[in-house]
Symmetry: C2
Subunit: 160 residues, 2 copies
Amino acid sequence: MARASRRATVDSILASAERACATAGVRLTAKRRALLATLLQQSQAMSAYELAEQYRQDHGESIPTMSVYRMLDFLAEQNLVHKLGAINKYIACAHISCSHRHETPQFLICDDCHSVSEVEVEAETLDTLGQGVEATGFHLRSRQLELHGLCDHCYKRAAS
Amino acid sequence: MARASRRATVDSILASAERACATAGVRLTAKRRALLATLLQQSQAMSAYELAEQYRQDHGESIPTMSVYRMLDFLAEQNLVHKLGAINKYIACAHISCSHRHETPQFLICDDCHSVSEVEVEAETLDTLGQGVEATGFHLRSRQLELHGLCDHCYKRAAS
DNA sequence: TCAGTTATGTTACAACATAACAAAAAAGGA
DNA sequence: TCCTTTTTTGTTATGTTGTAACATAACTGA
Ligand SMILES: [Zn+2]
Ligand SMILES: [Zn+2]
Ligand SMILES: [Zn+2]
Ligand SMILES: [Zn+2]
């Protein structure tokens, strides 16, 4: 049943994504939607080339990497996926179905197994950080942090 | 005179780097030193390939990119340079000649002119951030943040 | 000197990303 | 509907970043 429930969750997230795109007045085409579906079913961050291969397996149709990059650019603009610049990989947003507005995401990247968690950080802490930085005359564009380390699983395995 | 004083500054930083390597019991070879000198004279972060080309111009000798990567790895281990993972570039540490121990550096990266500043952030704020993250079970490896935005110069130019 | 280690060079290739242009699909009005 | 315009997707070629594997050179310490 895990599989069925996972499937249902993906479908409901896709429905939310469709509504978000309709509201924004942009087109979530069949291919963009299919690519998002592929990414949603991954537990790890994926490179564009890995996604092209997974898409081929999932949908029985090959797709140029060039198109994958363009679709990822589109999805990232709509905040449906996030690009992790430090490792050149992409992850589906964990909050597509949330009603609240999209807060700046923070990512914890395991340097061993490459799993990625999208977490919330206290707004107050981020504000303090941002104010300290802007006091130097710099103007932050994004408060998306990408923090590296070990996930609990890999940490415990390394300790043994 | 600006050129002469700049030259002197670079020389004194190189002398500090030599002392640091001697203390650590590692070898700052002539090529590693020459590469560090090249990087010290840049005002922007440089990719490994850009550095290979600049090295060739500075020292009248070509150098394999493979060697540049290895030297940069060495210099980064000694905290003489920092790698900016988000943009795949390298920058000389701004504190080589400082006597105090090397704090975790924080970088402000201008997305327009690509200038990079190495700044201090209040330790307390970083601790709060780190504690929040570690409370989720994640184990941070580094607290080096790479923040993107616009430097004051580019910000004002964009506003006009 | 000579063996062992570290550093650097060479070649080949893998992985990531984009430029330039062509074809197809969708949108919108006469 | 038909035609025009715009957007999306495909194709080809190439640029950029990084590493593997192995050879040679330089240094170090008996
Ligand atoms: Zn998100
Ligand atoms: Zn892990
Ligand atoms: Zn530094
Ligand atoms: Zn700037």
